[in-house]
């Protein structure tokens, strides 16, 4: 019972503090599942991000289900998902009534103007953690362990994204095929 409650409360915090959509929830999910509770190791967390990006539906809910299932089966998945949506349900219904009165208040605008740069910083933090794992594996940032194939894939993927703005799923898949192909060639 208590593990279900812990799952519920962890994802309640993710739902409560994730401003600005799916990617903004990533650093919070990482903190709850990898650092505080050690439910996932960094590799599994990165796999989770990859899977959540490639499956339909909101990323935070995908993550909640995946973590809940691994920790406590289907009941865990329900507890984590429920925790993730509870803050939305309460806050959004209250906001719906207050929004019209608040919309033009400078204080409300001020709070949002502080949260926006913080959201960018936190997404950058989550992205950097994943990039380091992709480039160096589990060895930390030792220059000798730099994976050149991963570096090529990352640079190429970023270039393609900036230039043609294709669907992220296509880019992730493309990077996977390119990386696996290059590794196969390197192994021959």
């Amino acid at each position: 019972m208590s593990i279900l409650l812990t799952l519920y409360l962890s994802f309640f915090q993710v739902g409560l503090f994730a401003f600005g959509g799916g990617l903004a929830a990533l650093p919070l999910i990482r903190e709850q599942t990898v650092i505080i509770h050690a439910w996932l190791d960094p590799n599994t967390f990165t796999d989770l991000v990859t899977i959540a990006e490639m499956t339909p539906g909101p990323i935070a809910l995908n993550a909640a289900t995946f973590v809940g299932m691994r920790v406590q089966g289907i009941m865990g998945a329900f507890a984590a998902t429920l925790g993730c949506v509870t803050p939305s349900l309460i806050i959004v219904l209250v906001l719906a009534r207050l929004y019209k009165a608040w919309r033009d208040k400078p204080g409300f605008q001020g709070i949002l103007s502080g949260l926006r740069p913080a959201a960018v910083a936190l997404i950058a933090f989550a992205g950097l953690s994943i990039l380091i794992l992709a480039l160096f594996g589990n060895h930390g940032t030792v220059p000798e362990k730099l994976d050149y194939i991963a570096l090529i894939c990352f640079s190429l993927a970023l270039f393609v994204l900036r230039k043609w703005k294709p669907s992220p799923i296509l880019v992730i898949f493309g990077a996977g095929i390119l990386g696996a192909g290059l590794r196969l060639l390197a192994g021959l």
């Binding site: 959540a52 909101p58 939305s88 933090f125």
Partner: protein
């Protein structure tokens, strides 16, 4: 506007289908909800739909979840809000449950494992692209306050391992203070 047609089963099936077949999170799902409910079903006006999307984005939590709760509430009150929430939450619950069951078998397969590892570079690139666009938007404001806040927030979690749930309220408060000081400054200047 044709109001008789609003009903819970159609609401449920519409959000379920959007959530089940839309990849890539809130920024992709929300425009599809607009197409379905404002353009196809005409259950809400276009402007009203945009308002709901704006509220859904300023509230915490998944944008798609927030927007569908708002929409359901607007159409059918609390039962509508719960129906829309269920329709949005069920597809990820089903799909990810299946994936997590097969994850370990999946990971031990050499081909899948190599693919997943290689796809990490792609994920890192997607996140870098988002940071590039959002950070660029903040730089374009040409104001020192958001830039300093962004750097401080990054350093506090990266170097000092600050808990994220403390960083966000702090930044919100800093933004509130900044707006308040600016207003006082403007009033004193009069």
């Amino acid at each position: 506007m044709d109001r008789e047609k609003t009903n819970l089963p159609t609401l449920f099936l519409s959000v379920f289908r959007i959530s089940a077949f839309t990849f890539g999170g809130g920024y992709v799902i929300v425009p599809l909800m607009r197409r379905r409910f404002a353009e196809e079903l005409k259950w809400v006006g276009d402007e009203e739909m945009l308002d709901m999307i704006a509220i859904g984005q300023s509230a915490p939590g998944p944008i798609a979840v927030n927007t569908s709760i708002l929409l359901g509430y607007r159409l059918k009150g609390i039962p509508g809000a719960l129906t829309a929430l269920l329709g949005t939450a069920l597809p990820p619950l089903i799909v990810l449950s299946l994936i997590s069951v097969f994850y370990d078998a999946f990971r031990q397969n050499a081909v899948v494992s190599t693919m997943l590892s290689a796809m990490r570079s792609g994920v890192a690139a997607v996140i870098a692209d988002v940071v590039w666009s959002m950070g660029g938007g903040i730089l374009k404001t040409r104001r020192p306050f958001p830039l300093i806040l962004m750097i401080l927030a990054f350093l506090s979690v990266w170097l000092f391992k600050f808990p994220i749930i403390l960083v966000l309220p702090f930044c919100g408060f800093a933004g509130f203070l900044d707006a308040w000081l600016k207003r006082r400054g403007a009033e004193a200047g009069k």
